[in-house]
């Protein structure tokens, strides 16, 4: 924010900051050309907004000291919040201007630009749940059920499944349905502790896919091992 001296058409220079009372700042500016000066006094809300940023008004002249803001703003004892209470009380008494355009001007602007408002009606066909899949879902705790249902439906839509079966759930869980595992590769994966195995499976399948392979073989495992060793 800058202030302009309209008489000289020149920016006014920041001079000093004072605290006339708790919760208020008096910031003085001067015009270098005509010598005119004025001070801006902030209300407690504006003061807080500025001080919470942890920056210095007018630029930082001295290096910050450790925990500067924390220590400066921490109350050592409970104090009255009279200043702010007074400010809010004053604001509450101010007459509220009647809205002529039906609400917040920013919302109106967003609406005008087409950036807000109702979503266009979707035309996506929702996949249906087969009885066995629904039974499988309903055995889970409520919140897990909601999360899983959302993910499986998204997966079904992406992959063009009109009906969600237990196989679709399994494919979604594994994250892929395009990569097979040879018996040798599966045996080698089994050497990995169970809590790391899902991560390993994903990484190795990603590698196979990048190589254009449809099956994780011993060779893919060797390559993965070398890549993991490289960090």
């Amino acid at each position: 924010m800058k202030f302009l001296c309209l008489k000289c058409e020149q920016y006014m220079a920041f001079e000093k900051v004072e605290a006339p009372e708790e919760g208020r700042l008096g910031v003085t500016f001067g015009c270098a050309s005509c010598g005119g000066r004025f001070a801006m006094v902030t209300n407690p809300g504006e003061t807080q907004l500025v001080s919470s940023l942890g920056v210095s008004l007018g630029g930082r002249a001295v290096p910050p000291v450790p925990l500067e803001m924390t220590r400066a703003t921490l109350r050592s004892e409970a104090q009255s919040s009279a200043t702010m209470a007074e400010y809010l009380a004053t604001r509450a008494q101010e007459p509220v201007q009647a809205e002529t355009s039906g609400g917040c001007p920013f919302s109106a602007m967003l609406r005008e630009k087409g950036l807000a408002g109702e979503q266009p009606a979707g035309s996506t066909l929702e996949p249906a749940w087969s009885e066995p899949a629904r039974a499988q879902l309903e055995r889970l705790p409520t919140f897990v059920r909601q999360v899983l249902a959302k993910s499986v439906e998204a997966y079904a839509r992406t992959h063009g499944y009109a009906l969600i079966t237990p196989e679709v759930i399994e494919a979604q869980k594994r994250g892929v349905d395009d990569i097979a595992w040879s018996p040798e590769a599966s045996a080698r994966l089994a050497n990995i502790p169970d809590f790391v195995r899902p991560v390993a499976r994903k990484e190795i399948e990603r590698l196979a896919r990048n190589r254009g392979a449809t099956t994780v073989t011993g060779e893919v495992m060797d390559e993965a091992k070398t890549l993991f060793a490289m960090g």
Binding site: L49, L53, G54, L57, G59, R60, Q79, L88, N191, F195
Partner: protein
């Protein structure tokens, strides 16, 4: 007015950049930064953080704990450091050293034991400024506490609230290695944790795993295990594709020792052994590429 050239003499953006750089510089001596979070209050985040820190320290790692729960700091009390203070010098605020050499920084080290954490200004009356203020306090704790060289810094995040979104706080930590989530096996806690995990992932935070706390109750008389909740954290982990790092039953001995500020240092205690196991899993996941290079 259009002829005038705008000059940013206050350099606000530059000042904000400097603040971020200070955090990054301060954190350069720390190898792995982890956050412990939940989204739900009362599930045992601080207890878990302290036990993970102790387990890491028992393995010989240099560990720091940053108590980011500004309004309900309790890590200091749990580690028997109720009277510790952050000594502020020219280089920063020196983190006091607790059991097993663990360095700790907490808001409780800046206030008197019975004082509430309150700020000057209008924050008591509006959460708008409170959120901004507290984020800057967290940023200052990250930039100004002197940790020195550490292998691990664990940040104990507050429960979720409008004023202090834990995943956003986690985003203030540069090169964060990951987040460990804590839940109880209750449906209510699981539901909140589920949202918190989704939020963290949206912000690009790596979810290292989930710890199920209060996973039953170990009777001190008969040593038998009884269920406390009927939920299923494994189902949650499967649905979210998150590793379950372990289950920790409620342990009255542990609760008592923490209340007394005498953390459990005995590696042979059943709960300590569980945390050793959980820590081993977390370390393996942190460095899973090395494990795969060896074991595949």
């Amino acid at each position: 007015m259009r002829k005038l050239k705008y000059s940013d003499s206050a350099k606000v953006i530059e000042q904000l950049d400097v603040l971020s750089t200070r955090v990054r510089e301060r954190m350069t001596g720390i190898r792995h930064k982890l956050v412990v979070m939940s989204g739900k209050g009362g599930v045992g985040k601080s207890m878990t953080t302290v036990n993970l820190a102790l387990a890491l320290a028992r393995r010989g790692h240099r560990v720091g704990v940053l108590d980011v729960d500004l309004n309900g700091p309790c890590v200091g009390a749990m580690l028997g450091m109720r009277d510790a203070r952050l000594e502020v010098g020219r280089e920063g605020a020196v983190a006091p050293v607790g059991p097993l050499g663990i360095k700790v920084a907490s808001m409780s080290f800046l206030i008197r034991r019975t004082d509430p954490v309150r700020w000057k200004g209008p924050m008591d009356l509006s959460p708008v400024w409170l959120g901004l203020q507290e984020m800057q306090v967290v940023r200052e704790l990250l930039s100004d506490v002197v940790w020195g060289e550490l292998d691990f810094l664990l940040a104990d995040l507050p429960p979720g609230a409008a004023a202090d979104k834990p995943p956003v706080i986690a985003g203030l930590i540069p090169d964060l290695a990951g987040a460990v989530f804590v839940t109880t096996p209750s449906e209510v806690a699981g539901e909140v944790v589920c949202r918190s995990i989704a939020y963290a992932r949206d912000l690009g935070i790596r979810v290292l795993g989930l710890i199920e706390n209060m996973s039953g109750y170990r009777c001190p008389s008969c040593n038998e295990h009884h269920a406390l909740f009927r939920g299923d954290s494994q189902a949650l982990c499967d649905a979210l594709d998150v590793p379950l790092l372990g289950r920790v039953p409620f342990d009255p001995t542990l609760a008592e020792t923490f209340d007394q500020g005498r953390p459990l240092e005995d590696a042979e205690h059943p709960t300590a052994r569980l945390f050793d196991q959980i820590t081993g899993r977390a370390l393996a996941l942190l460095d899973y590429r090395r494990l795969l290079a060896q074991e595949l």
